[in-house]
Symmetry: C2
């Protein structure tokens, strides 16, 4: 029976894409919907998102941000105001043309992102330097009509948060942009156990309408990179178009400096693909909806074991997110597989012999290590173990990334690595967008970021051989 | 200066609708947007919604519900499956017809409510009686293309939660429907200090597609009723159309019994119109974003007072949602008005004399009562005072409702009350929808609910004089 269960998930080595979908569908994280490209986030998947929201929202508020809500609809004329912006988003906009029986005079976009609608309000609200900074965040759904979709990674609709801030000076805006990038890095590394590289996007890869885009880039276990969060310094691009001016202390009317930044439900995809294995999902304790699953092993003493299991549940429930699987219709082995597939960090087994010995059996999802723990020490033991698991998962992911980060000194090396190994390729770059495009066309890899942490690998651009400006990361990506 | 400030809000007696809009705009709860009928919920208004969400979400989870997320889009064919449902919603649907450059093969509705898309998934997920009950809630935006709109009360887009559950038996579904109605009643009365009448909707007023709709009805301070929350027993209307069947313990395939229930951002409108006065908003402490505002009165001793004010802020901030208004550019009087307008339940003043006497001045927003409190007792005093304010606001609203609930024994009396007094009218009803429609046409009042708490006012229907079945409430409403 156990064997059969495990077989339901395609091994990663056989077909990574199918493994990914299997984990999502069979782990009940999400499901396909009758709407093209849209997914349903099921309760188990949504609980992960709720934990992400709770932890991130606290960080946003601790850095002075407040939440608000702007309309899901953006009139076409508004979306079109900033030229680069509309060019970037127009191809994937869903258009509302009718309200009830009536045809609308102007088409309305379902928001792909909210810069334009928010700027139109900031123009109204911001009058004086005293009104600055404006530090607003929004949790909402957005729509991008993508051709090909994949649950959590690329869907026609997804959930995200978008921060939108306005500042008095360029320096203030840049500081905010980097502050939020650091909030993302710390969150993703500390709470999701995913190591990331902080850096700047190239001109080709930056956000449509931004002055500069910063990113945190993660490496998935199939060797493809994933952009986990971005923070944009918008400069005065939008404030000039939307006429967001303030009277400064010196009596001059000035345009504000703006930022925007966001992460989305694709973080759940990143969790799956960073930590998962052939048994399924592996969740970092800090965002796991269930941190400890108690599986009673009844033997011949069902009442005794069930009562003890309930007692232990009561003992743990104020400290941890814990559940007791007391279902009759499944064997313990089946339950073990189910909860491993669902990525619960700790399994606690309790049977007649354990009760006799005043002990519980504790099994880690990350290493499958099994330990016998005195019942009286269970709370303390689990507390420490959850921290260990959180840390170990980060270290494992970091080790994988290091092993899959390679240096290329010339184009042939780069091409060879991408074709035969995937992973990150570190290479020197002259700063010319044509060299970047050449790599994309020839290998499918894109310039993921210009990392803050620079190394000098050589003097020459990996493509054109001209003088190199920066060390950059290339990779195939999601 | 103070006088000028107060004048910014239109008095309720002069123009209630304008007063309502003034409170919202000047209190910075919300703003008009460039999108027809859509509003922006500003940080101060959104913080009220976040408090509502937090408190309600806990109640939902305590009653066994889990959150999930379903697509914002619903294909036209799906929306049309349940006949009554589509008839009720089609006139106000926003239709997406284009994705990027492409015209869609089938029009897609922006969800006005999610029964149909959720049912299509439940049909996939529910197989056995062991899968029941399914208890799912969703927090999201919905769109109804209304002709005339009013912030929080009726907007093209609004935020809400919608619970959708599936059960094994009719009794289970009815129990759930009433359980969630009671959750709403208790929440609205305890946390929002708004008294409500629990009852059932008439056939004319029930939800499109429901078997039975239950409601909680509140009375606004202009004498109009407001439906604050509804809970629907959907029967098997949707399960038969969407083929949601389960294999019961007896080996028979059966259709599930369903419920749905929701409250929305219109609760914020209810708070404004139940409690507000000519100075502006009055917020119940439990959902006030700021419970205590500290206003330092510098006199000649700015540093001394500011330091003490900060000290008190530190003292209070772990117990309450507190802010310190240390702005230089406004006088204390201006600040008093501002925070009264924004409905902060308690104002704490501190000046040089207070510091000398080791005291603070505490002013209630609900009664304007002013008390001097020893600094060392401040935390305890405020804790009790917030409870008192919460309770007093409920009692005031209840008193108003009682004074504005009248009995009509015949149609002339009913018409006279609606025309000259508004408020609730209690009257006997034969149960015939024609009598209900007659009242609506002649007076503009609708049958708000058939209350659970019945009284026998007479034997005869207030319209036709035939045998009365039930005592019901009529009112003009939002
Ligand atoms: Zn080059
Ligand atoms: Zn009648």
């Amino acid at each position: 029976m156990e064997e059969k269960f495990v077989k339901e998930i395609t091994p990663r080595s056989e077909d990574f894409a199918q493994w990914y979908v299997d984990v999502i569908l069979k782990g009940e994280l999400a499901d396909y919907s009758p709407v093209r490209g849209c997914m349903v986030i099921r309760p188990y998947g949504y609980a992960i998102w709720e934990n992400i929201q709770k932890l991130l929202d606290k960080r946003f508020k601790d850095t002075g941000h407040k939440n608000a809500y702007f309309p899901v609809f953006i009139p076409e004329s508004l979306l079109k105001k900033e030229a680069e912006h509309v060019e970037g988003f127009a191809p994937e906009v869903a258009w509302v043309t009718h309200g009830g029986q009536e045809e609308l005079a102007e088409r309305i976009a379902v928001r792909p992102t909210s810069e334009t609608i928010i700027c139109s309000m900031y123009a109204k609200w911001i009058k004086s330097y005293r009104d600055l900074p404006v530090l607003i965040n929004q949790w909402c759904n957005v729509v991008r009509w993508e051709k090909s979709t994949k649950p959590f990674l690329r869907t026609a609709e997804f959930l995200w948060q978008e921060g939108h801030t306005a500042h008095r000076t360029e320096e203030d805006a840049e500081e905010e942009t980097l502050r939020m990038l650091e909030v993302y890095r710390d969150f993703v590394e500390s709470e999701l156990s995913i190591p990331v590289i902080k850096g700047r996007k190239s001109e080709n890869e930056k956000f449509a309408g931004a002055l500069r885009t910063y990113t945190i880039e993660a490496l998935m276990s199939d060797g493809r990179a994933l952009q986990a969060g971005t923070s944009h310094n918008l400069g005065q691009h939008f404030s000039k178009v939307f006429d967001i001016q303030f009277l400064d202390q010196d009596g001059q009317l000035k345009y504000v400096w703006q930022t925007s930044w966001g992460v989305s439900t694709r973080l759940i995809g990143a969790i799956i693909m960073t930590h998962g294995d052939d048994r399924g999902l592996k969740l970092p304790p800090k965002i796991a909806p269930i941190q400890v699953i108690i599986v009673p092993i009844f033997g011949q003493k069902k009442d005794l074991v069930l009562n003890k299991a309930k007692e232990i549940y009561e003992l743990l429930k104020n400290e941890f997110r814990v559940e007791l699987d007391d279902r009759d219709e499944y064997t313990p082995g089946w339950k073990f597989n189910e909860w491993e597939m669902k990525g619960v960090p700790i399994r606690l087994e309790i049977g007649p012999k354990d009760i006799e010995n005043k002990q519980v059996v504790v099994v880690r999802r990350d290493t499958f290590e099994k330990n016998i723990v005195a019942e009286e020490n269970a709370v303390e033991y689990i507390k420490n173990l959850l921290n260990d698991i959180q840390k170990n998962m980060f270290e494992q992911a970091q080790k994988f990334r290091e092993e899959n980060t390679r240096v290329a000194l010339n184009f042939e090396e780069l091409k060879n690595i991408i074709e035969n190994y995937r992973g990150f390729v570190k290479a020197m770059w002259c700063g010319n967008g044509d060299c970047e495009k050449h790599i994309k066309e020839q290998t499918g890899a894109t310039l993921r970021c210009i990392p803050f942490e620079q190394e000098k690998l050589s003097d020459k651009c990996v493509v054109c051989g001209k003088e190199a400006q920066k060390m950059v990361y290339f990779a195939k990506s999601y």
